[in-house]
């Protein structure tokens, strides 16, 4: 099978969905001639023109608000918020309008809206360009939150997101854009809300998502050589969480480690862990452990940035401690 980057996979998803459905259009900062801050929309403005790839002013609140208005009245916007760090500027529109409108209006409308954004640390960009804010979003009933880790999932999930009639926040990771993976030429979709067992194992389950899937798989490979068999579950969607797949794995391994890049306190792992306790407490042979980001703003210094997020070594160490 051919191999392409995560960036290309996303670009293909946008391209294919725009070709398939004239109601789909792109809306955001520097997405036209510039092709997006991380190059995801490259070439699409040239192909689809000014009316379907729209450069907006730097007006995040209005980007989400107007995208919602368009979604309510016959179009299927894919809005881009350049960094998830800027989500605060449009949180009101997202939380009070986008997420609630269908419910408040008694189910009499749909909101076919995708908000693509990108997060995570790794480029030493400091406190305003490195955050992992997914846990803010999973606290909002009415939206779905998708976070793919591989090019295959990125493409399939973005296509599904664009076809979904619910509002979706689709969070990419800045350190994944150049990663490569197998992506078939022919069309496929990846369903939203379904986790994926990225590696099977029997001693311990790692539940993770986004870039931390790659770290966890690397750790699993190292541990395999030491005779430790790790199962790695990529949640892929954080809202709703596919707890069934997780529980199935817990029943097999009886041990769970959650690996997440976001700040530990009130983080996504807290929710995952609690759902495991609610659904599989009797199967746990050890307390659930989190390997998570530090509870601090992301520091600039490369040495501190590295310490602020999980790494392969810490994952390996945690697994070994749990099995001791």
């Amino acid at each position: 099978m051919r191999t392409i980057t995560y960036r290309q996979a996303l670009n293909e998803a946008l391209d294919e969905e725009m070709a398939r459905d004239p109601r789909v259009f792109l809306f955001g900062e520097d997405i036209a001639i510039y092709g997006g801050a991380y190059g995801v929309t490259a070439g699409l403005w040239q192909k689809y023109g000014d009316e379907r790839v729209i450069d907006t002013p730097i007006s995040e609140n209005a980007i989400v608000g107007t995208a919602l208005g368009a979604a309510l009245t016959g179009l299927r916007p894919v809005a881009e918020i350049m960094y998830i760090d800027f989500i605060g500027l449009c949180m009101d529109q997202l939380n009070n309008q986008v997420a609630k409108i269908r419910y408040m209006f008694g189910g009499k409308c749909t909101v076919p809206l995708v908000i693509r954004t990108e997060g995570g640390a790794g480029r030493t960009l400091g406190a305003h360009h490195s955050q992992s804010l997914e846990s803010w979003l999973i606290h909002i009933p009415g939206i779905k939150v998708v976070m793919p880790s591989t090019p295959y999932d990125a493409k399939g999930l973005l296509k599904s997101s664009i076809r979904d009639d619910n509002p979706i926040v689709f969070i990419e990771h800045k350190m994944l854009y150049n990663t490569k993976g197998e992506v078939p030429e022919e069309e496929y979709l990846v369903p939203i809300g379904v986790a994926d067992v990225k590696k099977e194992g029997k001693d311990v389950t790692i539940v993770t998502y986004s870039r931390m899937v790659l770290f966890s798989l690397e750790a699993a490979k190292i541990l395999e050589k030491e005779g430790i068999s790790v199962e790695v579950i990529d949640l892929r969607t954080l809202l709703p969480i596919d707890i069934e797949t997780v529980v199935k794995s817990v029943k097999k391994t009886n041990r769970v480690i959650i690996v997440e890049e976001d700040c530990k306190t009130g983080g996504t792992g807290a929710e995952i862990g609690m759902q495991i306790i609610e659904n599989a407490f009797d199967y746990l042979d050890a307390p659930i452990v989190r390997v998570a980001g530090a509870d601090v703003p992301m520091p600039k210094s490369p040495v501190l940035e590295k310490l602020a997020i999980p790494d392969v070594e810490r994952i390996c160490k945690t697994v070994k401690e749990m099995l001791k």
Binding site: Y34, P57, P299
Partner: protein, 319 residues
């Protein structure tokens, strides 16, 4: 405004410091000695230098994501700034902030900002604080053309005008917000008009002419100190480099870049000083050499400085 030899040297030197500092960062980025991103101020030096030269050391500024120039002009220490950009312990923010968060509160620099428009609230609040504390200070609030499209801009201008706050809003109109030109993103092309809605006096100024910037900013600084409230200045300027290191600048032409490079603020000012007989060629070259040495020392200092200790990860979060 009168210009003495001493002042001429100061203005020229600061502009050269900024230019060489930015050229050096570009080099360090290319060599991977500096990591991450940096938005460079080269080409726009006359705005920060001219504006900040007319305020007092205890007056405030707020800066932007393109903040090296403001930091240097507000008496920033070149070594500590360079070290900060490299994420070193000796940096002005202990290596925790980086290029996007340069700040030095001891010098009245309330900080660069990673969020476009992020400084507007801080500047307006500092203005309110000055007023409530009955001080005679002012705030220079720098931001880009792009920032004037964000909600906070309108909210802050309204408050500042309503309460007559001593804030001079300085829009650095360098024609683009990343790749999007003012033409393609502003309903009003003459950005000064945005202040009309709030009854704030506004005017355009040639941002390549440091003396013109001084003239205009000092007028509005006096206006603010006399209790007459905010003003809004649009300094027309241009950034030489791409928005970031990887920017191939496909959204603007090489002719346009050439046009602006011919309006270089450092050359314009140097020539003017020669014409007026205030500085001669030799003196100008000498200043340039001095600056070169300073920048080399700053880089040397920054590179040799240690990174923060691991324990620093958790310090400074709460008092």
């Amino acid at each position: 405004m009168e210009i003495t030899k001493e002042l001429a040297i100061k203005l020229l030197k600061q502009m050269m410091e900024i230019r060489q500092f930015e050229d050096m960062i570009m080099e360090l980025l290319a060599k991977n000695i500096a990591e991450g991103g940096s938005h460079l101020y080269a080409g726009m030096e006359a705005v920060a230098v001219g504006a900040i030269s007319v305020i007092n050391p205890d007056d405030y500024i707020t800066s932007t994501h393109r903040g090296h120039g403001h930091a240097i002009a507000k008496d920033g220490d070149l070594k500590a700034l360079m070290a900060e950009i490299l994420g070193k312990k000796t940096g002005v923010c202990k290596g925790k902030g980086g290029s996007l968060h340069l700040a030095d509160l001891s010098k009245g620099n309330l900080g660069a900002n990673g969020i476009v428009g992020g400084g507007l609230g801080i500047a307006t609040g500092a203005g309110l604080s000055i007023k409530l504390q009955k001080q005679n200070k002012v705030v220079l609030c720098f931001f880009g053309d792009g920032a004037t499209n964000n909600g906070i801009f309108f909210e802050c201008l309204n408050m500042a005008s309503l309460w007559k706050l001593p804030v001079i809003y300085i829009c650095e109109n360098n024609k683009y917000a990343m790749s999007v030109s003012v033409e393609r993103s502003h309903a009003v092309k003459d950005i000064t008009k945005k202040a009309l809605a709030f009854d704030i006096p506004s005017e355009n100024v040639d941002g390549q002419d440091v003396l013109a910037v001084r003239e205009v900013v000092s007028k509005w600084v006096n206006h603010a100190r006399e209790g007459n409230g905010p003003s809004f200045i649009v300094a027309n300027t241009y950034r030489y480099y791409g928005h970031s290191r990887s920017d191939p600048r496909v959204y603007r032409t090489r002719e346009e870049e050439k046009f602006w490079r011919e309006r270089d603020p450092i050359i314009i000012f140097g020539n003017k000083m020669k014409e007026m007989g205030i500085l001669n060629e030799e003196e100008i070259n000498q200043i340039e050499e001095e600056v070169k040495k300073e920048i080399e020392e700053a880089v040397d200092f920054a590179i040799k400085s240690p990174y923060p200790e691991p324990e620093e990860l958790y310090t400074d979060l709460y008092v």
